[in-house]
């Protein structure tokens, strides 16, 4: 590839519990949940009530601001409960699945013959429109605009992430269909980024109707935000959409089979996962459905939907997120460690800095836990963040602008180009233990409020 982009800065977190490439079981859904909290800024409108029966593909939620965007049930069954939190915020719609799955028939359609509007309509009606994420801000895509371009990252560098080549091995045709469909929604083309190391090894380099890029580097080289920054940075007023290969497969299935079929291979990973490998399941899968992967008798496991940097802590009774194809199980690190910071060697802990000796064992994997490893302080070190962020922005200045709520500065320092996930590594290495992702998240919320 001629236009390979090499990223020198970054960090692969050496956490143990990588999923072996085998399928342990196909999870037969019992109770699944649709969670409006998976979508940033969504004001949900409930379309069903307890006791209603739904099919796989029946809308259960809609966006209040844009009622055409709906969210569908991944299973056929009965609405069991509508779970609300503080201030009656809608958290989950739990659906008890039937024994045999019935799908809403959206009809098999030939993408070639469809117009952009027909494609949009098909996606919106089926509940697959939320697969498209709009930047800046990482919100649901606005159906009324034509984005500058659509970006796809065909590899993941996140810790223990599901291997896309393996997880989507049988989905090539569906993904090609989806690419052809989405290509009609933009004039800038579909940009797909590959890992240069594995370019020839991945089947997806044969995708047609796309603009290809390759990247070399450690995490976060696989983050689509980093890739956009290097391919075509987002300027003020511009909008791009991103979509994951996983969602492309679902979109392709919609056109090829007429079904809202969200079945995916999910990597169950992490130091606390017993025999980490893959399962076939649906988004909204309950953690209880993968019981054989953990022993939580000590109540010390954190259940993360997603990876350890950006995932959501859903708890033992929680459910897999809409976009996620990974569950990470790690230990809650609620232990006091005597004089830990002063010990010359803490050989069971990893540090990206050389203040410990983990650089001597570069191939070792660590059983990481959730301990913060220190107290929260003001920003002190200023050069550790740039080393893990392969973007031409100043992360500390951006974070401080977000803390100060200074819109002008946030804009100047690049708030349009980042999402929380892009700065997750900055948060990981921060010796002051500052919650950078939460700060960026607040900053993005403020931008959305002020710039409307």
């Amino acid at each position: 590839m001629s236009n390979n982009i090499t990223l020198k800065r970054g960090l692969d977190i050496p956490i143990s519990g990588e999923a072996a490439q085998k399928i342990k079981k196909a999870v037969v859904p019992d109770v699944v949940a649709v969670k409006p909290t998976d979508f940033r800024g969504l004001l949900p409108k409930l379309l069903v009530k307890e006791g209603d029966s739904v099919l796989a593909g029946t809308p259960v939620l809609a966006d209040k601001l844009s009622p055409g965007i709906v969210f569908s049930s991944p299973v056929s069954g009965t609405v069991q409960a509508v779970v609300r939190g503080e201030k009656r915020k809608l958290l989950e719609i739990r659906i008890k699945a039937d024994e045999t799955q019935k799908y809403v028939d959206f009809g098999i359609q030939k993408v070639k013959d469809l117009t952009a509007d027909q494609i949009k309509e098909a996606l919106m009606k089926s509940g697959l429109w939320p697969a498209l994420v709009q930047r800046p801000y990482g919100v649901l895509a606005n159906p009324d605009i034509r984005p500058k371009a659509i970006f796809v990252s065909a590899f993941s560098t996140a810790p223990l992430a599901a291997d896309i080549d393996y997880a989507l091995r049988d989905e090539f045709d569906n993904i090609q269909t989806a690419v052809n469909a989405l290509a009609k929604l933009t004039d800038g083309g579909i940009h797909v980024s590959f890992n240069s190391v594995n370019y020839n090894g991945t089947p997806f380099h044969k995708l047609e109707n796309v603009i290809q890029h390759t990247f070399t580097g450690k995490h976060p080289a696989g983050n689509v935000g980093i890739q956009i920054h290097h391919i075509s940075p987002i300027r003020k007023g511009e909008t791009v959409w991103t979509v994951s290969p996983l969602m492309l497969a679902a979109i392709g299935k919609l056109f090829n089979t007429g079904k809202y079929d969200m079945t995916r291979r999910i990597a169950v990973t992490g130091p606390k996962a017993v025999d980490p490998c893959y399962v076939t399941a649906l988004p909204g899968m309950a953690m209880a459905d993968i019981k054989e992967f953990y022993d939580n008798s000590a109540r010390d496991i954190r259940f993360i939907s997603g990876d350890v940097l950006t995932g959501t802590n859903v708890g033992e009774d929680g459910f897999l997120g809409f976009y996620d194809s990974q569950v990470t199980l790690i230990k809650e690190g609620r232990e006091h460690e005597m004089l830990g910071w002063a010990k010359p060697f803490r050989s069971n802990l990893f540090s990206a800095s050389r203040t410990y000796f983990s650089w001597l064992t570069p191939n070792r994997r660590y059983d990481m836990d959730t301990n913060l490893h220190g107290g929260v302080r003001a920003f002190l070190m200023n050069d550790v963040y740039g080393k893990v962020l392969p973007m031409d922005i100043f992360p500390v200045y951006l974070t401080k602008a977000c803390i100060a709520g200074d819109i002008d500065k946030m804009e100047k320092y690049g708030i349009y180009e980042v999402l929380e996930e892009d700065l997750a590594l900055c948060e990981y290495v921060c010796p002051s233990k500052i919650d950078i992702q939460a700060i960026i998240s607040d900053g993005i919320s403020l931008m959305m409020k002020e710039m409307e």
């Binding site: 004089l339 800095s353 959730t370 913060l372 220190g374 031409d392 500390v396 990981y428 010796p431």
Partner: protein
Amino acid sequence: MNGLRKLTDKIKPAFEKGGKLGFLHSTFDAFETFLFVPDTVTKRGAHVRDSVDLKRILIIVVLALVPAMLFGMWNVGYQHSNAFGLGWGFWQMFWYGLVKVIPLYLVSYIVGLGIEFISAQIKGHEVSEGYLVSGMLIPLIVPVDVPLWMLAIAVAFAVILGKEVFGGTGMNIWNPALLCRAFLFFSYPSKMSGDTVWTGGLSRYLTEGTAYATDGNGLVDAFSGATPLAHPSIEGLQQAGTSFMDLFIGTVPGSVGETSVIAILIGAIILIWTGVASWKIMLSSVVGGLAMGYLGYACGVTDLPGYYQLVLGGFAFGTVFMATDPVTSAQTETGKWIYGFLVGALTVTVRLFNPGYVEGMMLAILLMNTFAPLIDYYVIEGSIKRREKKVKVA
């Protein structure tokens, strides 16, 4: 170990909000987190975090200062022995230095940490460990004979007005340790400069006529007591019997920890290897010092070749330990090059052109601390403009 943990857990409730000793919460917390890494887990954002924290980073800086401190202690005894012709052995010298330097440390830490604890208590914050390093630095950059009460006032000034009023560690504009030294320098110049302050025991000898309790040894005839910076010329150094190697090893009078370039270099290697301090600042400061030094040499302002400037006075110490303070130095990578270069160049400029004030390091760093945000501002503006142009072309 477990017993201590149990005890801590037992007395902890008393220090929590509403507890009997709740007003001492920050203090308790400081001791608890000193003894034990807290059991807090990540709540928002990344679920796992790096094992490095500020305590670890600062303890590395303290460790890097140990060679300079140990050498300084020995050198205090060595200078004293030389001045009074005592002919001491190694351990006698070291012991004398230890006895002279330990009180400086006690004052520095008791006053400084005391204020840190009190202000954390008032603000209800956790006690920040930033002063561990400042407290380690301060005794190394003052003359060994500085009266302890002066040091106490200076430390209080530096911590309160240099740090706490800005919001504590991480928010300050100037390096607190240097601020402490600057306070001493301008408030009590007679104790901070001249030929008599650099040798341990000399002040007492001059006022009380006795320098060492055991005998009445007088000063040796050849004694000068001046630091090499007082006569910065080849001839001056020769007359004082100071060679380049003496300056490099550090067997000359001066502030406690600043004399030995070797000990400082060991510290520099630790700091650079662990990535705790910026090698860019160190390198550019050295380059700046050399450039100015050789410029002065070429123009005939001094007959000392440029490299002498690096081993004289506090240049090495300031470059390695003071200019690299991550809070008060430039934050951007390009800014660090500019900042470091100007620190080095300004130091030597002051030395060459101001005979009344020979040590430029302190004020050069404080001045550049002041300008570091400005440097960063222009670096960032420049970077943003360049990117805009690039994007427009693309």
